[in-house]
Subunit: 225 residues, 2 copies
DNA sequence: GTTCGTAATATGGTATACCAACATACAGTC
DNA sequence: GACTGTATGTTGGTATACCATATTACGAAC
């Protein structure tokens, strides 16, 4: 009978207003609808999001902890600025964590993981064709989620997700440059290939090359403002 | 005249109630006054902390983002449980980030950094003599803060601080075991020594050994409950 | 013994009120 | 005309009251 109750169980959380509002505001920041340094006036956000001040304040605390929002004393929350020094550090950390995860994933990957990885890669291709910040964010998140969870690196995945939120505002800018549109999926494919071949060394190397490339593009965008 | 205005400038933020409450509650969790799985009832916390519900809710959002609190749907926030799988991952990530930071710090350290490092090490010794969770937390935080900020790894320092909050509940337990009290400061001294000698390789090695040791102690505590 | 209803508790969400801090503009005084 | 003081509006911080809902326990009815 356990099977039957499992099938009937409602898995989706009933999405609190707060969770929806966090997603909405995070999406707006990532999509570039708020610039770094823009003030986030509480009462204005209440109108824009259609929720009360309590919810807005809790949402701001959440995004503050994610590093997307900074609150200056007596002046209120503003969208965090992103400079090259921060972005470089973020790419450095991602390099460490993702290389390790890809290697472990390559070591552990079975047929099911490989199938999920190929599906994520296909979704990534269609997202790159669509070329909207939201679609790209969702697709890359899906791709790495397979790698990190298959490797058993839950905690690292939390961290990388948070870091990703902070730099994926770059993606909106990066979409303007043409080179990324080709090099991105190619690198991802190389990573997936190495994992499907159960080759940890090659997987880690592919990740490092991918991030070196992405960091280089970010540097060009940010270093001379 | 610029000097005079600089001297008069007020640097300390006037500490919002929220910030105080976050520190207080985080401290209580780290000190072991709440066990993993304990429910954090909002209105009870209002009484215990002496603040309003708005503040408590925002505090909970902050600690939730730090990983110290988890909120289950329809049941409210509880203190996060810490199992060996999570702790092992945390030590793995710290090993990556701290080894890199120690190496960079050793590469960059000048006389001022070395002086601050020695001061932090001295503070650490007195904290180990005192042997309270709060003192140890503050002292180890101070020690690593010198290393990370001197290395210019601000972002990694944010992450490590957050991870530290999650595992420093172990320190309260670890204080019971006698071996840690000797091996801890000895390892820290080795790390400081390598940095003061501007030897990146030795610094990274010392960090890895320290964390290997700390993880081993944690494993003994957590693996068989 | 099972089932149903109800009350207590806790939560999510909302609205509102109050206060302090800051900025701006406008007047008043020398 | 320059400085000073005040009025006002906006904003963040805090507190409180209220409602709807979910969970749980308890007790009554069958």
């Amino acid at each position: 009978m356990n099977n039957a109750t499992d099938d009937l169980r409602i898995h989706e959380a009933p999405a609190t207003l707060r969770a929806l509002a966090v997603d909405r505001l995070r999406g707006a920041i990532i999509a570039g609808r708020f610039q770094g340094g823009d003030r986030l006036v509480e009462r204005t956000l209440c109108d824009q999001l259609g929720v009360s001040r309590s919810v807005v304040r809790e949402v701001i605390r959440t995004l503050e902890a994610e590093g997307l929002v900074e609150t200056q004393a007596r002046s209120g929350p503003v969208v965090a600025r992103l400079d090259w020094s921060q972005a470089r550090q973020i790419y450095d950390i991602r390099r460490l964590l993702e290389a390790e995860a890809a290697a472990d994933c390559a070591f552990l990957a079975d047929a099911a993981v490989k199938a999920r990885l190929r599906a994520a890669l296909a979704a990534l291709d269609t997202a790159f064709a669509e070329a909207t910040p939201q679609a790209l964010y969702a697709a890359t998140t899906g791709f790495y989620e397979v790698i990190f969870t298959a490797a058993g690196h839950d905690v690292a995945w939390e961290i990388v997700q948070r870091l990703n939120g902070r730099i994926s505002r770059l993606r909106a800018m990066t979409l303007a440059t043409k080179d990324r549109r080709t090099s991105g999926p190619a690198h991802m494919a190389r990573i997936a290939e190495a994992i499907c071949a159960n080759d940890p060394v090659a997987a880690a190397k592919a990740v490092r090359e991918h991030l070196k490339d992405a960091a280089e593009i970010a540097r060009k965008l940010l270093e001379t403002p």
